[in-house]
């Protein structure tokens, strides 16, 4: 292990390596999102899926801890010259970790007996699931490439989707249907909305680690965790 000191680096600096690991964290988050949503929407075996989701979430949490440690080492050794980027990465990995937590919440819904596999609006729900999953994939690509234009475009789509999901939540609040039908769906929309908000946060942080000087938060950009 001490020999690491004498080995030549692979040309990538440590922050680039950390960024690369955040990409695999997002891929893990997408994997657990797909599984957790499948448990609810396809009627798949919740127990088997639950194991996989928990293991993936553990992997995400371990990566978060590990990367946070590496970022502290980076600042201790290199000083504060790239502190903005370090702070951005700390925020980024926290947001990815939150997506993992929301995926687990979706799984808990299924474990508590919620089953939407025969819901009349199943096609629409599957559509949302597919869109969010694709957004996670795009977020990983944007982080890897540092694609600012892609981030702007994805952020716009996440904003639109959040509005759409909120409309569904509002609609369900005033629904005449019985609670056991309305509540799981409303909660699912709420979790999805949080995941989408975190995707927006991830791509924003990845391409603009710290908000520009003079930035005044008027509340419109608040990110729902």
């Amino acid at each position: 292990m001490v020999m690491t000191f004498f080995r030549r680096g692979d040309g990538e600096n440590s922050l680039d390596q950390i960024t690369a690991r955040t990409v695999s964290m997002v891929s893990d988050a997408r994997h657990s999102f797909d599984l957790a949503s499948a448990a609810l929407l396809s009627g798949a075996d919740v127990e088997t899926i639950g194991q996989d989701v928990r293991q993936t979430d553990e992997r995400i949490n371990e990566a978060e801890q590990d990367l946070r440690g590496q970022l502290v080492v980076h600042v201790s050794v290199q000083g504060s010259s790239d502190i903005g980027e370090v702070l951005g990465l700390i925020l980024l990995i926290k947001k990815i970790e939150r997506i993992g937590d929301q995926n687990k919440n979706i799984l808990y819904l299924a474990e508590d007996g919620a089953d939407l596999s025969e819901a009349p609006d199943l096609e629409m729900l599957i559509g949302f699931r597919r869109t969010i999953s694709e957004m996670l994939g795009q977020a990983a690509d944007i982080i890897a490439a540092g694609d600012e234009d892609g981030a702007t475009e994805l952020r716009k789509r996440t904003n639109d989707l959040q509005v759409e999901l909120q409309d569904h939540i509002r609609e369900l609040m005033h629904s005449e249907e019985p609670g056991h039908k309305v509540v799981p769906r409303a909660i699912l929309y709420r979790y999805w909305k949080r995941i989408v908000a975190n995707i927006a946060g991830v791509v924003t942080t990845a391409t603009e680690p710290l908000q520009h000087q003079g930035y005044q938060d008027d509340g419109a950009t608040d990110i729902d965790d």
């Binding site: 000191f5 440590s14 502290v72």
Partner: protein
């Protein structure tokens, strides 16, 4: 977040910085040699008066602490001691306590760094313990090894044996190739100062002062540039070792980093924020600190190469021997190993309860006691 540059990428290219470091090491060696020559130029009476006060080993110990606290670098203070021994003005026996004092004095830097987190109790507790474990280990090592050295001369005997095995005998000179390279610039300096009309004690004092400035400045720049050169390697190896490495591996890493950056203060100060953030535990940091203790002795050994004096090499080896034996005595047995760790934890508890305790600790250990000690024992 791609396309960033590392700290090492900024400024000079690596090859240029490497050349600069070699040049600075050469300048450092010229500084040590100038110091040695300056003392030699002074009259015998002046030399005797100058170092009379450190003939008492306790005074020597406190002078070592004070000198190191003043320049914030044991590498610098031990190099100066090596230069003084090389000149013949200071004997190996009188220099040993000064070297031990330098070991204690150098711990002030990371203790000061730990005070930076004084406002956050939990962080401060971890940071202060991580810093003071170095103090307590060195204090304990000196408490055990100084009396043994004074009674038996064990450390200097071991160092002398190593020197003799390398081909030198006490009081003689050995053919150091580096001495030849640094002789000429020191001659120019002496001639230049001589042309200004300086003679004997004035000339000697001036050469000593110039030598001191060169040693301090060169070491500062060597450390800065080496840190930039190896920062990525340090980061990579810390990530590899701190996650899964054992005590010995961490110790070797502390040694390697310190040899590379020529400063134990850099190594130990890097560890303080890591401890504060809870990334590493006190027990993980302890061996790194001990490795740094040994690694920092490389500078005095380097300085001894510039002198060609066997005694200078011996005192430099005493520094290494002292730290290696200190580790051999205090680290392997878990019960003994716990003493500095528990002392550091207890001190951190007190410091968190009363922040003034932390400040009082630093001032008392590194300034007040050494000053009183020098005043009483000189």
């Amino acid at each position: 977040m791609t396309g960033t540059t590392t700290a090492a990428d900024r400024g000079l290219p690596t090859w240029a910085r490497s050349v600069l470091v070699f040049a600075l090491i050469y300048i450092f060696l010229v500084g040590v040699s100038s110091l040695e020559s300056g003392i030699k130029v002074m009259g015998a009476d002046t030399q005797a008066n100058l170092f009379e006060s450190v003939n008492n080993p306790i005074a020597g110990l406190f002078v070592g602490i004070l000198g190191t606290v003043l320049v914030q670098s044991s590498s610098a203070s031990t190099s100066v001691v090596v230069g003084l021994v090389a000149s013949g003005a200071l004997g190996v026996d009188a220099a040993v306590p000064m070297i031990m004092g330098a070991n204690i004095g150098t711990t002030v830097t990371n203790t000061l760094v730990s005070l930076g987190s004084i406002r956050q109790s939990d962080e401060f507790k971890r940071a202060f313990a991580a810093a003071t474990v170095h103090d307590f280990f060195n204090l304990l090592a000196v408490t055990i090894l100084l009396p043994i050295e004074l009674l038996t001369g064990a450390l200097s005997s071991i160092a002398t044996s190593i020197t003799e095995a390398l081909g030198g005998s006490a009081g003689s000179e050995w053919k150091s190739p580096i001495k030849k390279w640094v002789k000429e610039p020191v001659g120019w300096l002496k001639d230049g100062l001589g042309e200004l009309g300086l003679e004997e004690n004035f000339l000697g004092t001036s050469m000593v002062l110039v030598g001191l400035v060169i040693v301090l400045a060169a070491l500062t720049f060597i450390t800065k540039n080496m840190k930039k050169l190896v920062a990525d390697r340090v980061e990579r190896s810390l990530n590899a070792v701190l996650g899964s490495g054992g005590g010995t591996v961490a110790m070797v890493l502390g040694l390697v980093i310190t040899v590379a950056v020529q400063s134990s203060s850099i190594t130990t100060s890097i560890m303080v924020p890591l401890a504060a953030a809870g990334v590493v535990t006190l027990r993980n940091i302890f061996p790194v600190t001990l490795g740094a203790n040994v690694g920092t002795t490389i500078t005095a050994l380097l300085a001894a190469l510039a002198s060609g004096s066997v005694d200078a090499l011996t005192i430099a080896l005493v520094h290494t021997t002292f730290n290696v034996i200190g580790i051999a005595l205090l680290y392997p047995m878990p019960r003994i190993r716990m003493i500095p760790l528990r002392a550091a934890e207890r001190m951190a508890d007190l410091a968190v309860e009363r922040h003034t305790m932390a400040v009082a600790y630093v001032i008392t250990l590194f300034i007040v006691i050494p000053l009183i000690g020098v005043a009483i024992f000189r």
